[in-house]
Symmetry: C2
């Protein structure tokens, strides 16, 4: 049982961009910092833009930055959006299932409760929580100290 | 995010065998009832035997039955045994990870807590709970009323 690599990368991208505190990031920077392929990241950044988490500034000095304050970005909500499949077993899929015992299946209820408990924990975190060790994150990711030119994330 | 088909089948096999209340089941019966391939089920039954959940009786009239009382079979424990991978993201794998932010990663803690919450719900269920609607299960699965010849599961 694991989250998709796509969700994992979405979370790591938001942590990187958030650690820059309003300064723009580039896909090249993020790819270099995590050792992730640029192609993978382009899809991730595009989707995070569609979902309203990132804004893209074109041109020289451009790049991406958070489109919302870190404390407004809920991790549970994000995972629900980026996981294509939260069907913990086959019978949770929206496309019909033909498991015969479905109408008498306590297992289905148990797994539903377990999935809700998983997501409830993530609901209690925002991106701001993940950015709490910001100084250490910045050091590890080679992010320079913020110039604090103004708050681009709002 | 989903459990493996292997875990799903392990759970369904135990529900079938448990619903027979001590009478032996055959792989053919279970395969027919769930519409699952016999080959898949053989691996599942073999593994459940290795793990001490099923006993196999050879010969005419033989088959499989529960090797423990349903109330002694914990669903959380079973899932921990049958899931080959509870590494919710890459950095949970035992084989080394090179994610650079690991030492400052609150996300890893959050996902660990979420996984524990998922398993804690399953820990609160035993096979006996899943068998509570036994009459309905038996009807759906075409299991005849028990002859109660003696309790083979102990």
């Amino acid at each position: 049982m694991r989250l998709t690599t796509f969700t994992d990368y979405c979370l790591r991208v938001l942590m990187f961009v958030g650690a820059k505190e309003g300064e723009t990031s580039t896909i090249e920077e993020i790819a270099g910092s995590y050792g992730i392929s640029r192609n993978h990241l382009m899809k991730v950044v595009f989707r995070l833009g569609q979902l309203g988490y990132l804004t893209n500034v074109r041109g020289k000095g451009g790049g991406i930055y958070l489109a919302a304050k870190p404390e407004r970005i809920n991790i549970g909500a994000l995972v629900r959006q980026t996981e294509e499949d939260l069907a913990i077993v086959e019978c949770f899929e929206q496309s019909a299932t033909d498991c015969r015992i479905e109408s008498a299946c306590i297992l289905r209820q148990a797994l539903g409760k377990a999935l809700n408990a998983f997501l409830a924990v993530l609901d209690s975190y925002t991106l701001a929580d993940l950015l709490a060790p910001r100084r250490k994150l910045s050091q590890i990711l080679n992010i320079p100290a913020p110039r604090r030119l103004g708050k681009k994330a709002s």
